[in-house]
């Protein structure tokens, strides 16, 4: 198994990278570090796709002139062009999701003054309890009057 993994070392590295990103996503309590973990997982996907598209000894998929006004069109000359398009889609979606998540994190920081998800949840629970206590008091006042 180890020699097979060494043969596919780019894919193995991508899998390990995505594992690092997932651990980061689960273990970090800081929201910005969580988003960085998500970005590491995205990078692992790009590496995997780029590794799948590579063919040994072939050129990038840009047509090469054959010297007499024509173009070399044999598919045995160029690497796979499809993963490039897929990686582009991945990068764009990852940038958009990261920006949106960071904007939401910034709003959370403005409201609760912390980036730690546990502290923010604790403050949210306190607010909720405060609200419920007020509702109970108001109900009692209405009932007693």
């Amino acid at each position: 198994m180890l020699e097979k993994l060494l043969l596919n070392h780019y894919e193995a590295a991508a899998v390990i990278l995505s594992g690092i990103g997932l651990t980061n996503l689960l273990l970090q309590r800081n929201l910005i570090k969580k988003i960085i973990g998500l970005n590491i997982m995205d990078t692992a996907v790009y590496l995997f796709l780029a590794a799948k598209g590579y063919v040994e000894g072939r050129a990038a998929p840009i047509l090469i002139a054959d010297g007499s006004g024509g173009w070399l069109r044999s598919s045995a000359l160029y690497v796979n062009p499809v993963p490039a398009g897929l990686v582009l889609t991945g990068i764009v979606v990852s940038v958009s999701v990261t920006a949106f998540a960071l904007a939401l994190t910034l709003k959370l920081y403005e409201s609760y003054g912390t980036l730690n998800i546990d502290e923010a949840l604790m403050k949210m629970t306190q607010e909720q309890e405060e609200l419920e206590a007020r509702i109970d008091d108001a109900e009692e006042e209405v009932l007693s009057s």
């Binding site: 198994m1 097979k4 993994l5 043969l7 596919n8 894919e11 193995a12 899998v15 390990i16 995505s18 594992g19 997932l22 651990t23 689960l26 273990l27 590794a51 799948k52 598209g53 590579y54 063919v55 040994e56 990038a60 998929p61 840009i62 047509l63 002139a65 173009w71 069109r73 044999s74 598919s75 045995a76 160029y78 796979n80 062009p81 499809v82 490039a84 398009g85 582009l88 990068i91 764009v92 979606v93 940038v95 958009s96 999701v97 920006a99 949106f100 960071l102 904007a103 910034l106 709003k107 920081y109 403005e110 003054g113 912390t114 403050k123 607010e127 309890e129 405060e130 206590a133 109970d136």
Partner: protein, 333 residues
């Protein structure tokens, strides 16, 4: 020697842990707002004595042991999950076809078709450009729309609230005479303190901004002939805008590129993209003769719609990436 090493290590350690000496001009972030006084406790709903004490004792135990135990359990379980997932995926990777071999199942007849007919069907020398902006142009249109939507939602989330706050806490700009030091009120979240007299930054920006702009335009315009295209060229253009904003202040960039310009240019680019590619898809699907010429491969005016579509995408990407930077650092665009 040993003492010296120890001193260097201590200063490095302090620097890493954030305990080191603070530079004089450092902007210290404001204190978080104090916790709201929660004077009113939630009422105890249990009237019977033993139930209440049981609940209280459970809560006490939870406060002392429970949370700690839970976090240890959570960390252990998440590491275990990740190890299991990674080992499963590694076992799968070991069974994959060998890396870089030409007989791999990924290099099938689809790739042969794209490479052998892509040139004369799309008119683009760069097969990837022909792939993403001709065969799969609808996908790229969706990507541009996703970017634009993300920029607009970040603008809604950050822009509006910042503007309201700036109006409510409007404070006069304070100028320090002699140093030409501009500061907008107290340094609060998201507001930089700009030093306008940074000679090094100005000279570097003067030298490099035209070069970066030219590089970005070349990458966008040559998208169908060489590596690059709208996305990478737009990213290069946005770095020029970000450098200008950092060197001369956001107000200077705001004069020619603001929220209004961004919305108008991006919507126009998306509209041109949708209409021109819609025409192309309609004529192609119904076997109607299209008026768009393919051109000869290798010329700058070739590739049918790829050049104008690259320009549209470049405009959207440049505006969006600069917009993200301006919104996150300044709260306005």
């Amino acid at each position: 020697m040993n003492e010296e090493l120890r001193r260097i290590w201590k200063s490095f350690f302090d620097w890493v842990m954030g305990n080191g000496p603070r530079p004089e001009n450092e902007v210290i972030p404001p204190e978080p707002p104090p916790d709201l006084p929660f004077t009113r406790k939630p009422k105890d709903k249990y009237s019977r004595f033993h139930e209440a004490t049981l609940k209280e004792r459970y809560n006490q135990w939870l406060e002392i042991h429970g949370l700690h135990l839970f976090s240890v359990l959570y960390a252990g379980l998440s590491v275990l999950t990740c190890i299991v997932i990674v080992s499963l995926l590694l076992a799968t990777v070991a069974e994959l076809p060998p890396f870089g071999h030409e007989r791999n199942p990924a290099n099938n007849e689809v790739i042969r078709r794209y490479v052998e007919h892509g040139g004369h069907e799309t008119g683009a020398q760069n097969i990837v450009a022909g792939l993403i902006l001709d065969y799969r142009a609808f996908d790229t249109f969706g990507e541009s729309a996703v970017l634009f939507t993300a920029a607009v939602s970040v603008l809604m989330l950050l822009g509006a609230s910042r503007r309201n706050r700036a109006e409510s806490e409007l404070q006069p700009h304070t100028y320090e005479i002699g140093r030409n030091f501009l500061q907008r009120g107290p340094p609060s979240l998201g507001h930089h303190v700009f030093r306008r007299d940074d000679t090094i930054l100005h000279s570097v920006a003067n030298l490099s901004i035209p070069v970066i702009l030219m590089m970005g335009c070349v990458v966008v315009i040559n998208g169908h002939l060489s590596p690059g295209g709208g996305f990478s060229g737009g990213a290069i253009l946005s770095t020029a805008l970000i450098l200008a904003a950092n060197a001369y202040g956001f107000e200077r960039v705001h004069e020619f590129f603001n929220e209004r310009t961004f919305i108008i240019s991006s919507s126009t680019a998306l509209m041109i993209y949708a209409l021109s590619k819609g025409y192309s898809f309609f004529t192609g699907a119904n076997h109607i003769h299209s008026i768009i010429p393919k051109g000869t491969i290798g010329n700058i005016l070739s590739g049918g719609l790829i050049l104008p579509l690259n320009l549209c995408v470049g405009l959207i990407v440049a505006g969006t990436l600069y917009g993200f930077y301006a919104l996150f650092s300044e709260g306005d665009m």
